[in-house]
């Protein structure tokens, strides 16, 4: 079963003559552990799609299913809980809280969800260690480089053990080298830790790290390219060479 799926998803901003269709009957699905990049020219609806996948905005028509649950029918409390436990978010500008240390930033979402502070700190430390940030756990964001801040944000996105990570231009504010490292880390998030990653990017170099690219144009799916065969799929695809079939 896909971890996230959209069915004829549409989003229209405004109404009547000033209505703008941002997404026009988009149907996509992402399997557990898959790394998918969403690309397209600016204004193609890629950020809108990501926001709808994360339940951050309401759909106009069609549906978003996370792990088989339709977001549209959910009460606010249930939606909040699902967002906290099933989905991790990563943003272009990291969105860390400046007065908190790396470890406190990472522990925050699960603390808000009722995990005891000592346990939350331990889990935060564990993820920061996996992401090579053990030595900077007690640094505040302004004491960290952009790439390091994004690592903290990735740890924060993973700390609640979500199945799905949504990343909005995660390398958009980083130089080439740090961008490559973050893209490689996101690949690790999917390959090694089995989380589905959906990443919006305009950078071809970064998109090439994904298993599959979905191209949007004028709010519609214009094309898809498979870059790597499914690793956890059936034996035939798992045994296939790296280059995907044409």
């Amino acid at each position: 079963m896909p971890i996230v799926e959209t069915q004829n998803l549409s989003k229209i901003y405004g109404a009547g003559e000033v209505a703008v269709t941002a997404l026009d009957h988009v149907s996509i699905s992402v399997e557990a552990g898959e790394f998918v990049a969403i690309m397209g020219p600016s204004g193609c609806g890629k950020s809108t799609l990501l926001h709808l996948l994360g339940g951050l905005d309401s759909v106009s028509d069609g549906s978003v299913l996370i792990d088989g649950q339709n977001l549209a029918g959910m009460k606010d409390d249930d939606l909040t809980r699902l967002r906290r436990r099933k989905i991790g978010f990563i943003f272009q500008f990291f969105n860390l809280i400046p007065v908190l240390t790396a470890q406190e930033n990472v522990a925050l979402p699960i603390t808000l969800d009722g995990v005891k502070p000592a346990e939350a700190r331990a889990r935060a430390a564990e993820w920061l260690t996996r992401l090579d940030m053990a030595e900077r756990m007690h640094h505040r964001p302004d004491q960290l480089s952009g790439g390091q801040q994004q690592r903290v944000a990735i740890a924060r996105a993973l700390v609640a053990d979500p199945d799905l990570i949504l990343a909005d231009e995660p390398t958009g504010n980083l130089d080439t080298r740090a961008g490559d490292e973050i893209a490689e880390t996101l690949r690790q998030v999917s390959q090694q830790w089995g989380r589905a990653v959906v990443m919006v990017t305009h950078d071809p170099r970064i998109a090439a790290y994904a298993d599959r690219i979905i191209f949007l144009k004028d709010g519609k799916v214009n094309d898809q390219t498979i870059l790597a065969p499914r690793r956890n799929g059936d034996a035939a695809t798992a045994a296939a060479p790296l280059q995907a079939p044409a």
């Binding site: 490559d180 071809p204 170099r205 090439a208 790290y209 094309d223 870059l227 280059q243």
Partner: protein
């Protein structure tokens, strides 16, 4: 030219047998998978270099029962040719492009869908970019910097190709509204005498 000049350089390092030269070339060229030279090409190249006086061939004695093998060494003229190569720039080649020709033929003939051709090409380049990125990231730049830099060059060129494809796709409508480059119409038959 690259193979010929690389052979001169590798022989400047030390005299070598043909098969040794081939292995040394493939190692610096990014591996035999990336650039393989057939033994026949190695010996044909060496023969031409010998004819031009850029290398000389001698036979060694061979060890034990093995027959002697031909050993090649660089001459003074060979060294001068190598230095000349170092002194000149290498022409980049980006304007003879099979994909561009395919797109033009599709536009001119109407026999292929240019949008589909663009998408197919984009998909293929992304697959190659994924493969190269995976290869590059599997290498440790502290010990394999030469290979990393070769892969980086290929990656950067593919990035540029993708940006160009995006540019072409965005302007395909404009291209289709213009006349395609066509040959100049000339009078038929032989040119008139005296013209």
């Amino acid at each position: 030219m690259s193979v010929r000049n690389a052979f001169l350089g590798l022989l400047a390092q030390k005299p070598r047998h043909g098969y040794e030269l081939r292995a040394a070339f493939e190692a610096i060229a990014g591996g035999g998978v990336n650039w393989d030279v057939k033994p026949a090409q190695v010996y044909a190249t060496l023969d031409r270099l010998a004819e031009a006086g850029l290398v000389v061939c001698t036979s060694d004695l061979g060890e034990g029962d093995e027959p002697g093998r031909r050993v090649y060494a660089l001459t003074e003229a060979g060294l001068a040719a190598l230095r000349q190569w170092f002194d000149e720039g290498v022409e980049p080649e980006h304007q003879r492009d099979e994909f561009y020709i395919k797109l033009m033929v599709a536009l001119a003939s109407g026999a292929g869908d240019p949008h589909r051709i663009l998408r197919t090409q984009r998909g293929l380049i992304y697959q190659r970019l994924h493969g190269l990125t995976t290869q590059r990231n599997a290498l440790d730049a502290r010990v394999a910097l030469a290979q990393v830099l070769l892969l980086d060059k290929a990656i950067m060129h593919l990035e540029a190709d993708l940006r160009w494809l995006e540019f072409v796709e965005a302007r395909l409508g404009d291209i289709q509204r213009q006349p395609l480059p066509a040959p100049q119409v000339r009078a038929r038959g032989r040119p008139k005498k005296g013209s």
